[in-house]
């Protein structure tokens, strides 16, 4: 799905979803989730469109997006490497994994590599504390990760 400069056409499925939810109170967060699912983040044009469709001021939409950590305003890499920094992972060296990942990819946390392939994100507890330290890439969870394993994990996602 390409994002044009000024306007954006939502796919039918998303439009249908918004139509159903428009009737329900407190729909904004649910709709934003669906938008982010579609684009990987919430582009400005999409926020504009949501504002029109739900008849909610754009300022309010940005108020909500920026309040919640889950919503992103910039496009993440194709493979967003999420390093868990929950307490258990932190104690078991999650912070050193994050540092090493930054060194290996040559970007800082919340940045994207030039080829758009990788980004790094520090997340709070993914609920797999028994596997600490944990790295999540897309749907895949890597547990008891050591620094040595990182190059291997990165190259697994090279396509």
């Amino acid at each position: 799905m390409s994002v044009k400069n000024d306007t954006i056409e939502f796919p039918d499925e998303l439009l249908a979803f918004i139509r159903v939810w428009k009737e329900k109170p407190g729909n904004l967060i649910m709709v934003l989730h669906k938008v982010q699912e579609e684009y990987g983040y919430i582009p400005r044009e999409a926020a504009d469109r949501v504002s029109e469709l739900l008849e909610v001021p754009l300022a309010k939409i940005y108020g909500v997006i920026t309040f919640y950590h889950f919503f992103k305003l910039t496009k993440p890499g194709k493979y967003n490497m999420q390093v868990c920094l929950g307490t258990a992972c932190y104690l078991k060296g999650g912070d050193t994994l994050l540092e090493e990942l930054e060194n290996l990819l040559g970007i800082k946390t919340n940045e994207v590599t030039d080829d758009g392939l990788y980004s790094i994100e520090a997340v709070r507890c993914v609920g797999c504390c028994g596997l600490a330290p944990v790295l999540v890439v897309g749907e895949e969870v890597f547990g008891k990760v050591t620094k040595d394993q990182l190059p291997g994990i990165i190259s697994k996602f090279k396509k």
Partner: protein
């Protein structure tokens, strides 16, 4: 044909990530190819709790407990255990013991545990309502609808003495009763599944392993309080739990256990899922309600309490997942039964997520009143790698530390408060000698600062000031006045913050200054980090009598800070060293030490 064996595979998130799904598929394929499909039922269950040893496969009726199973082990499990009736010894948890000792109840991790909340986790397929019903599922709902008045239900909860498991420990019957007493056409029931405490995952496992128990409990609350609509507010970061809840809701509707005219009783109730979006403060009930309403998740002053004026201004019963999971058992077995478990102050059980530097990390459910020593050393197997126990943290960013001296304290709401910590949602994080108490405290404060919603200034400004002071101390720039300053800011935040987040955010500091003042003083006065964690305060050195001059560390050092000829003593240049610790990991002779 009769089923001879049941194979149970853990389908919790942790085991799924270790390829439990491949094991499941391989077992099905192997049973088919070895011609035993009709003799075996293969079930993917919820979390067994013993996450350290996952993925876990249990085979009944022998009760064989296989750990760290790989997808390629499926063939042997089927050909040996199922076809020939011989246990695969190499995969058993306790490989040294004979067959009859390999049973689940003999595993120390499960001894002393008592399961009410996790009763079905690891037993039933959470995606099949029939299995839940077979274990008395929805019997409590039927009993409440047809044999009990709403007052009977509340009376039962009162007798049981159950208190909220989300952290604050408010008596559940009172909450329900407040809502019930309000005369209002519209009321709501809400499940708080916004499990945000870093290091706690009991709610996730409960939802993934036994979603129907939550639906059943919420429906009972709807009947009791006069609500027709329920909401489950769940973290978007828990996709598997969301999926299983959706499946469960659909099945319950198909069976007439949810929706219009439940079981022909005339009572109607339905539930909708609302997703969180990664804000810890939304675990606070008024912030959570704001978030369901689609707003920024900021707390509101209480009173009015949600029980009277909650979601969209209507009376709302709100409980957390673990509290809900207890309800069907209390209705079914009676408040008396429940009140016999636990202590005078706290009834029933509590689930803890035991993590950190512990040998057996996992989910543990114990009767209230069990001691920390029993949980950490008997169930948890003690500290990993034979290190020294330092402290255990409970209550997450709102709690505090408990030291060796208090390990024999029986756990309940009151005793933990007395020790300057709190029950919280049940995260229990064990620290060893390598963990710096100041650094961990800074970690918690960093979390609270990140998660402060910014509405009230005591939390917004106070939290940031506390964090800055801690940061200064870990960099060796601390001064003696800092300790008093932190205590005074902390006390002000406790008194003046609007919600639980700000009121409890200073707890990690106040608690650690109380129990580990020495360690703060070492950082402030001696500019030294005893645990060797704070980078600005440590240096890496080489022991002359241990270094054999193998050059391994010098070759690995990323900045070339280590010099020395082959077979000669090496040296680390402190000016160049970036304290990455690679040399320490590389040296096989224990010649590198941190000072």
């Amino acid at each position: 044909m009769a089923i001879k064996n049941y194979i149970l595979i853990c389908g919790g998130t942790a085991c799924e990530s270790s390829r439990a799904d491949d094991i499941y598929k391989n077992l099905i394929a192997e049973c088919a190819s070895q011609g035993v499909s009709d003799d075996v039922q293969i079930v993917k269950t919820g979390c067994f709790g013993f996450c350290e040893q996952g993925p876990i496969v249990k085979i009944l009726p022998e009760d064989s407990f296989y750990v760290q199973v790989k997808p390629e082990d499926a063939k042997e499990l089927v050909s040996e255990h199922i076809v020939k009736g011989r246990e695969v010894t190499r995969l058993l948890y306790d490989k040294n013991k004979s067959k009859k000792h390999a049973k689940v109840e003999d595993i120390q991790f499960y001894q002393k545990q008592f399961r009410i909340v996790l009763r079905n986790c690891g037993f039933i397929n959470p995606e099949n309502i029939d299995e839940y019903i077979a274990r008395e599922g929805y019997a409590a709902l039927e009993k409440a609808l047809f044999n009990m008045t709403p007052d009977d239900v509340i009376g039962e909860l009162k007798t049981a003495g159950i208190r909220g498991r989300g952290g604050a420990g408010f008596p559940t019957w009172m909450k329900w009763n407040f809502t019930k007493q309000v005369e209002n056409d519209t009321k709501y029931v809400v499940c708080n599944a916004d499990e945000g405490d870093p290091g706690a995952y009991m709610d996730r496992s409960t939802l993934e392993g036994d979603p129907h128990s939550i639906l059943e409990a919420m429906t009972i609350a709807g009947y009791t309080c006069g609500a027709r609509q329920g909401y489950i507010y769940i973290r978007a970061e828990y996709p598997l739990a969301i999926k299983r809840l959706e499946i469960a809701m659909q099945q319950a509707r198909d069976y007439g256990l949810l929706g219009e005219d439940i079981l022909g009783s005339g009572f109607s109730f339905d539930i909708e899922i609302r997703l969180g979006a990664g804000a810890f403060v939304c675990g606070e009930e008024t912030a959570l309600l704001a978030s369901i309403e689609g707003e920024r998740g900021m707390p509101r002053p209480r009173p009015p309490f949600p029980a009277v004026k909650g979601l969209w201004g209507q009376p709302t019963v709100i409980n957390n997942v673990e509290t809900w999971a207890n309800i069907p058992m209390i209705i079914l077995k009676g408040g008396d039964w429940f009140s016999k478990i636990g202590t005078e102050d706290s009834k029933g059980t509590k689930v803890f997520a035991l993590t950190g530097k512990i040998r057996n990390s996992g989910l543990v459910e114990v009767p209230m009143g069990t001691t920390l020593r029993e949980i950490i050393f008997d169930i948890g197997g003690g500290i990993a790698n034979d290190k020294e126990f330092k402290a255990v943290q409970t209550g997450g960013p709102s709690g505090g530390v408990i030291t060796k001296a208090d390990l024999d304290t029986p756990i309940d709401y009151g005793s933990l408060m007395g020790l300057g910590s709190m029950m919280g949602s049940g995260g229990m994080i064990v620290m060893d000698e390598d963990d710096c108490i100041v650094d961990v405290t800074k970690f918690y404060l960093g979390f609270s600062v990140d998660e402060s919603c910014g509405k009230c200034s005591p939390c917004r400004i106070g939290g940031r000031s506390l964090y800055n002071i801690l940061d200064k101390i870990t960099k060796g720039e601390g001064e003696m006045e800092d300790l008093e300053q932190m205590k005074s800011i902390g006390q002000a935040m406790k008194k003046a913050s609007l919600c639980g987040l700000g009121q409890t955010a200073p707890n990690p500091i106040l608690s650690t200054i109380h129990y580990f003042e020495d360690e703060y003083l070492a950082h402030i006065k001696d500019k030294r980090c005893p645990a060797g964690k704070c980078k600005e305060l440590i240096s890496f050195n080489i022991l002359a009598d241990k270094c054999i001059g193998c050059t391994a560390c010098a070759r690995k050092c990323p900045v070339g800070a280590i010099t020395g000829e082959r077979r000669q003593l090496h040296r680390i240049d402190p000016e160049l060293c970036i304290k990455c610790g690679v040399c320490l990991e590389t040296c096989k002779f224990g010649a590198i030490y941190v000072r």
